[in-house]
């Protein structure tokens, strides 16, 4: 079970939880599960998210594998100038 | 619309072209003569990217009408190198990484040459004020100023050798 930490304003979509446990082998599965479990998150996922897995930021990377104890942060999709 | 026939020199070469009364020298250079080295950054004389010389005097080609150059000699970036030999300023700009995107570079080179033609030994302040009519957004000007300083130094050396 990877721990996914959301940013604050997504709380309303997870029933007030900021940290949720998700069973997923990679990022793609994780996002799919998140969307299924918390349909309110779909809009943001569709808009684009990046993830940080154990401290490393992935702008995309759906196939990035997750370890059972991975700490995953959901981040807005990175942009730059 | 009636075109105006103009005879002038560009980089010493005779040219003849027809332009409309409201066309600028920059329009003529870029659109009629295929000399796109001068860039249009603002068309109001505020960025210097279209710098040329008219009879040796530095000016923005966006502030000159094409019709006005009848009988005059225009200097553009395309005339700065002599054949394969780059002007020392051109070499130093590359050496010092004094350009990043490079769109302001032709204007800077024309302005810097005009500055050094008049003042072969400028102070940093003189260089900075001499180039204040040319905007660069990439470099912060540091390397441009250094390139001009270094060119001036080298040209003084070369000229004194030539003189001796």
């Amino acid at each position: 079970m990877a721990t996914v930490i959301l940013w604050g304003s997504l709380k309303p979509h997870t029933g007030g939880k900021i940290s949720v446990e998700v069973e997923a082998r990679n990022v793609q599965e994780l996002l799919a599960r998140l969307g299924e479990t918390y349909p309110g998150l779909q809009t943001q996922i569709k808009r684009g998210v990046s993830v940080s897995i154990d401290g490393l930021i992935y702008r995309e990377g759906w196939l990035e594998p997750l370890k059972p104890d991975s700490e995953v942060f959901l981040l807005p999709r990175m942009q730059g100038g | 619309m009636s075109g105006i026939t103009v005879n002038a020199k560009i980089n010493g070469d005779p040219v003849e072209f027809i332009c409309e009364a409201d066309e600028t020298l920059l329009d003529v250079l870029r659109n009629r003569l295929g000399l796109t080295g001068a860039k249009e950054g603002c068309s109001t004389g505020d960025c210097g990217a279209c710098s040329v010389t008219v009879d040796g005097r530095l000016t923005c080609s966006c502030l000159v009408l094409g019709a006005e150059i009848e009988g005059h000699n225009i200097g553009t970036i395309e005339g700065m190198a002599h054949g394969e030999e780059l002007h020392p300023l051109q070499k130093k700009f590359i050496e010092h990484a004094a350009l990043q995107c490079g769109v302001c570079t032709p204007g800077f080179l024309i302005a810097a040459k005009s500055l050094l033609d008049k003042n072969p030994d400028p102070t940093e302040t003189e260089i900075r004020f001499g180039l204040a009519g040319n905007l660069c957004r990439c470099t912060g000007y540091d390397k441009i100023v250094r390139a001009v300083q270094d060119t001036a130094k080298e040209m003084r050396k070369t000229n004194s050798r030539k003189g001796a």
């Binding site: 930490i5 940013w7 604050g8 304003s9 997504l10 709380k11 309303p12 007030g16 808009r47 940080s52 401290g55 930021i57 702008r59 990035e64 594998p65 700490e71 981040l75 807005p76 990175m78 942009q79 730059g80 100038g81 | 619309m1 001068a38 860039k39 249009e40 950054g41 603002c42 068309s43 505020d46 970036i77 395309e78 780059l86 051109q90 700009f93 590359i94 990484a97 350009l99 990043q100 995107c101 490079g102 769109v103 302001c104 570079t105 032709p106 900075r128 180039l131 204040a132 009519g133 040319n134 905007l135 957004r137 990439c138 470099t139 912060g140 540091d142 390397k143 441009i144 100023v145 250094r146």
Partner: protein
Amino acid sequence: MPLDNAPDSKRKYNVVGTRPLRPDGIDKVTGRAKFGADATAPGQLVGRILRSPHAHAKIKSIDTSKAEKLAGVKAVITRDDFPDHTDGDSALYDTMYNIMAREKALYEGHAVAAVAATTPAIARQALKLIKIDYEILPHVTDVDEAMKPNAPVLNRKMFTDGVDPKPTKASNIARRFEFGHGDVEEGFKKADIIIERSFKTEATHQGYIEPHAALASMSPDGTAELWCCTQGHYMVRDVCARILGIDISRLRVTQSEIGGGFGGKTTVFIEPVALALSRKANRPVKVVMTRDEVFKASGPTSSTSMDIKIGVTKDGLITAADGTFRYQGGPFAGCSPAEFGAMSAFAQFHLDNVRAIGYDVLCNRPKTISYRAPGAPMANFAVESVIEELAHKLGMAPIDFRIKNAAREGTKSSYGPVYGPIGLGPTLEAAKNHPHFKAPLGPNQGRGMAAGFWFNFGGQSCVSLNIPTDGTITVSVGSPDIGGSRASMCMMVAEELGINYEQVRAIIADTSSLGHNDVTDGSRTTFATGMACILAARDAIKKLCARAAATWGIPEDAVTWEKGFAKPAGANAGDFAPLSLKEIAAASPGTGGPIAGHHEYSADGAGVSFATHICDIEVDQETGASKIVRYTVIQDAGKAVHPAYVEGQFQGGAVQGIGWALNEEYIYGKDGRLQNAGFLDYRIPVCSDLPMIDTMILEIPNPGHPYGVRGVGETSIVPPLAAIANAVAAATGVRFTQLPMSPPRILKGIEDAKKAGAKKAA
């Protein structure tokens, strides 16, 4: 998957770290480099865009009949020529709405129609013949005003996202974000000193010298060519094809030389318009923005309003940091970089309790787009101003206060993840030990500093490397070269292959020649595309070794590559004379044909970036005029591939920050119109405004790159705003919380302080 490519700290570089001449140098100093507006096509028409004079207006009708009848006019287009192919993609819909207004014109300068004609004069005349019936609506351009309950609402279907419960009343607040950890309320309880301040910053523009330009040629069958200046021609291709409803592969986009971008050329403005005009006229059409259009109708960055509250113990430990960041992003949701402002604001600190709330707000202003480290400079200005003030209140040197609270390896960042090895501490220590820091100051001078952060990221890159029979190299990349990246690409390829820099040539391939490449943004090019070049070179090396192995009749894995030569290794070591790249290439027609290396991926592990800046400023106390007298940038580059261009990035970013801090601003009239849409009154720094910008490159290797490279392009614009505000405060005794610190504002601050002082004394 993170590559197993941690940098080898003992590696000696032959090419990386040197300062060779850039490959496009001669073209650029002789005027023959082709920028966006320099291209021509046979039979080309002039395209011009008609723009709304109103800040907010309903477009009741558009009559183009007179313009269409004018001799020399070949096409007139309006919103009707952009049927909606966006299929529910709201960001794409907004992009389409931005390039050509639909129901409403949402800001002054919003495109409402366009023409293609045989001459500029006819095009101009045609625009005047287009009649538009506007119903003028109330407008709002200030972010705080736009958030008020009675503000004119731009989008009646917009209900703030990210608040619970979801509002039932439409507003201009598109979204609320929240980042952080710990409990700030508890943290503030532990504080001995708390400072709370509000800040405002004005919108600024990237100010690239080259206006947007596009030359489009589209046939009625949907096949199209586009030549334009952009930070990402693949992005242009994808977005234009989707807006126009054509197959992506039908559109080939060739990137011209680009005259600066800084984030401003990471979207489309005129490109789909040029294509639509060309399709309708069935002739090539060139559209070039005027400078006025660039200011009014490209994408500046946000104006902001921010509140910061930070608490410390009397020994100088931050107990809690809280901030609210309100950014307007123009008329569409999701365009302001409020998220990145909120995420980056406190990223340079080690904090147990931190909260950053961001608001993305709509205004009747141009749709904002990225500007170098989007969102970070303004937030940093607010936070680092309060930090400086706290240090003074504590009686602690600001540098020591920052060092004490600095984020380090293992710090849980304010936006979530835990930091790996980072370079913040070293930049602060280097600043403290820098001669600049100890130099005496003259009268009316003050010194300020600030530390800043930017994320950096990787993204998609595709590189192809070809080796002709003479053993030289052509490397095709898909990342536009804005500041000399072709040189660094060549350098990395030369380094890997063990050959000279001069033997490698990099070109920017068009969209039909390579796989997708992300936009040049996020300081990603040298990192991500550079790493793809390294991996393409390694791919080529593998093939070169295979050819040598075949030639020698030994197994492929018995061959190694060293300094440009294939050598037999292991059991076969010394059995054959090494084969040079040149020899293998020359033999290639007979040994299996052409040799090429390739790499495509989505790069990750970019590694965050930190910088510390020091600034000395002199303020004329009678006029409020200020002059930067000394400036030093200290930044971690991971590994500087071409140090001269790394310095150039540091210097350029710092000077953009200086402009932002002192004089650059979008000035709106009560009518919602921009009053300073030109380089005369939008005052970017000129050469005589500045001193030399000293730089110090630190190299704390990024574990995510084989050479340790980090992106360097963006971070340098983050600290200047605060560094200058802190310097001005030191020089005048007045703390300025609003940018720009233009002379009238500084003088007023000084005068007000004098008056307040006199009152206190009396």
